[in-house]
Structure formats: C-alpha cells, structure tokens
Point group: C2
Chain length 221, copies 2
DNA sequence: TCCAAAAGTTGAACGTGTTCAAAAATGGTG
DNA sequence: CACCATTTTTGAACACGTTCAACTTTTGGA
C-alpha cells in the first residue's frame, strides 16, 4: 500500500551491507576494514556480502561515487559566488579536495586499488564513466562562467579535469599537516592556468596551445 | 685463492632467489608469481625467501632497479647522436619506454604496488631515492647538450623527470598495439616542450615560467 | 679442539580476499 | 496445499602474503 516503491528484502540487505561497509571504511580505513568484519557488523554471512558485491573494490567504488556527488554539490555551491576563471577554478578545486579530505588516511591505500587499468575504480575506465562525466561536468560549469577563447572552450573542461586528477594524485602523496601543500598548489596553479588561458590568444602562445589540443586529439584515438 | 671476492654462500642464495624471481616475474607476470612459487623454483623454503627479501614488493624493487639501469644505458647511448632539446628529449623518453616495454603486461598490476606512498616502490619515496636520482640524471644529460635559458637550467631536469613519470603513467594505461599512443605522445610532446623552453625567454612567457618555478619551490617545502 | 653466538633455514600458522557447492527461503503455478 | 524453479544464504575451503618460534649450520675466538 506504500506509494513509495517498497524495497524488497534483498535490496534492504544490500543497502545494509553497503552502509555497514561505508561506516567501517570511514572509521577504520581501507586496510583494517575486512570483508569478514563487514559481514559480521552487518549480521550476514561472508558469502552474502559477496552475493551483493563481487569484490571489496566494488564496495570502495560506492564510496568513490558518494564522494564525487559531494564534490559536485560543494563545487556548485562554491561556484555561485565566484567569477573569473582563476577564482572559479580555485573554488572548484578546493571544493573537490574538501570533499575528499575525510578519506585522506586511506586514500593512500585506495590509490592502489584505483589505478590499475582493469580496476572498476580506475578513473579513466569504463565502469566509472558515469562518475567521470559528472566530474568533467563540474569543470564545464567552471568554464561556462568565465571568458575563454572559443577555440579552447570545448576542450578545456576535460583538460581541467585531467589537471584535477593530477592535483588529487598530489594530494594523496601530501603528508603535510592538513595537506597544506596541496592547498598551496591549488592557489598557485589556478591563477597560472587562468593566465595561460588568457594569453592563449596571443600570437606566440596560440600555436603552442593549438598543438597541445591537436596532440590531445591525436593521442586519444 | 680466488682473486675475485668470493660470494659467500648466503649471497649466492640471495642471488638465486632474486634471479628466480626476476625470471618468474618476466614470464608469468606479477600476480601469477607467488612467493611460494619463487621458493619452490629456487629450491629453498618459503621462510628463506623472506629472510632475504622482506616482501614481494622488495623483489619487484629489484626489477625496477634493473629497468632503470637499462633505461640509463639506452638513453646515454641514444643521446650520443641527438642534438637539440626536442630530439634529445625524444631520444631519452623513447629509450625509457623501450626499456620498460617487457614489463607492460604486469606494469598494470605493478602500479598498484608502486604508487601507495609508503610502498618501497613509490617513485617519490625515500627507499627509491637513489634510483630516482639516477633517473633525474638522465634528464640532466638531456639538458646539458641543449640550449636552455639560464634561469631554467637548474630546475629543468627535475621537471622533465616529472613529465616522464606522467608519460610512464600514460604508458601503463595505454592499451593500443605496441603502445602506439604513448609513442605518439612522446613525438608530439617533446618538440612542444622544446618550443616552450625556447620561448621561455620571451616577455609574455617568462613571468609565467618563473611563476611555475616559484610554485614548484613553494609546494616542495 | 671446543663451544657459544650469530647467521641461516624451515614449515606450520595466521588473517586476508575470494570461490563454490550445498542448503534454505521465496514466489509463483496447478 | 503441493510442487518446482529461482533467489538468497551459508560456511567450509582455497591460495595468497606474511610472521614466527624452533631448529640447524656456520663462524670466530679461547
């Protein structure tokens, strides 16, 4: 009689496993969260957790999804009152890192699972395409509100996302308190990139940028 | 009565384990090479392999070392008859990827072990400092034989090495036949970087490059 | 030559992620 | 209700990397 589609029993169990795992990941980190631990905490058998999630990594992918959603929300919010490419880029990058911060302790372990090409977590792979496209979408928002030469406009969001991936990699390695160095990097790199974009119309720079775009297209095929 | 310093028995065993492991890594890949397999093939017990190598990763580090040595040799050779920054850079990068090629099949799995910050394989970490410094040395060679503005000269090798790490990351993901796309990237990026270096004296570009250098210094501390 | 300390060797044992055949619960059909 | 196919659940079992206490061999000085 519910208007809402009632979760089937099995969907409830799946959600229970997922939430238990998320909580455990957040409190104990990646390595100390074991499949047996998740099963025990969720009150189901080890086999059942594997019935719903084929691997530990697939559970981490859920965490990844959640974090990207948070990143998007935070970035959209921050973009509302930021104008100019430098500031907008800075806002988006800081928002992204903000959303990631709770996971820094086990981001280290995570990256081992996230980077192998065939991993479902691999940011460049097929399984995470949807998530990746939303992430690129954030940088489309960044670009939309800023002055960007036309010949660069279409490609820029993807390039910025790639740069963001670099920032995330840096962040994972960043052992300074509160990841201060990553913040420094963002604050320094954002205006630099903005300047580069602004200069990209100038006669000396434009051919260079065009070559970069051509190379990007060529390398992708 | 040997003039050569005779290997002690234990050094021989260590070498035996190492060579067995290297062969096994090369033929079966990372994942299918097990510590038990190495021990069996080498004719020693499982415990003994752990007496000489504290972990599987430490054995992979040996492979890493070997490959860097090969890279250096190949690069030095290739640099002998290459002049101009673009060509020299191209030569060094291709030589590096050449040396890496036999490992592409399990480079994928490798990266999972290599990137976590605390891993001995992490290219930015302390355990691999020596190896890293030789690698940066290759790019010092590249720079020495080319015309580079003075204000950039000291920092450039490290920046190029960083770029090379990016190329390696790209190569790991590169699923095209014979990693064609990586070769395309090298051929396209090398002249671009050379141009950028050449232009770095010009009034518009110089402040940008100087800012990049300043940011690099700031971020590293 | 002897013996204690050091170096080297061993295989059982632990905890892990993952697999799987079998058992149990569920849902629809006659 | 009775029957059967499908979905869900279970825990034992596997292979793995790693640890460790016990054992054996080598070393070097008295």
């Amino acid at each position: 009689m519910d208007a809402q589609p009632m979760d089937s029993k099995s969907e409830q169990t799946k959600a229970l496993v997922r939430e238990t795992a998320m909580a455990m990941f957040r409190t104990k980190g990646y390595a100390k969260t074991t499949m047996r631990g998740i099963a025990a905490d969720a009150g189901v058998s080890l086999g059942s957790t594997y019935y719903y999630y084929a691997s530990k990594d697939e559970l981490v992918l859920e965490l990844y999804r959640e974090s990207v959603t948070e990143q998007q929300a935070a970035a959209t919010l921050a973009l509302a009152d930021a104008s100019g490419l430098a500031d907008r880029l800075k806002a988006a990058l800081h928002a992204g890192i903000d959303a990631l911060t709770p996971y820094h302790s086990f981001g280290s372990a995570l990256i081992g699972s996230a980077l192998p090409p065939q991993s479902p977590l691999n940011p460049f792979g097929e399984p995470s395409r949807e998530v990746r496209e939303s992430a690129v979408g954030i940088f489309s928002e960044v670009v939309e509100g800023a002055k960007v030469p036309a010949f660069l406009r279409a490609q820029l969001p993807e390039l910025l996302w790639l740069g963001y991936m670099g920032v995330v990699l840096f962040w994972v390695y960043d052992r300074s308190e509160g990841q201060r160095r990553t913040r420094t990097l963002i604050d320094g790199a954002a205006p630099l990139i903005a300047k580069l974009v602004a200069f990209s119309r100038l006669p000396v720079v434009k051919p260079l940028v065009e070559e970069v775009l051509a190379l990007k297209a060529k390398v992708q095929s």
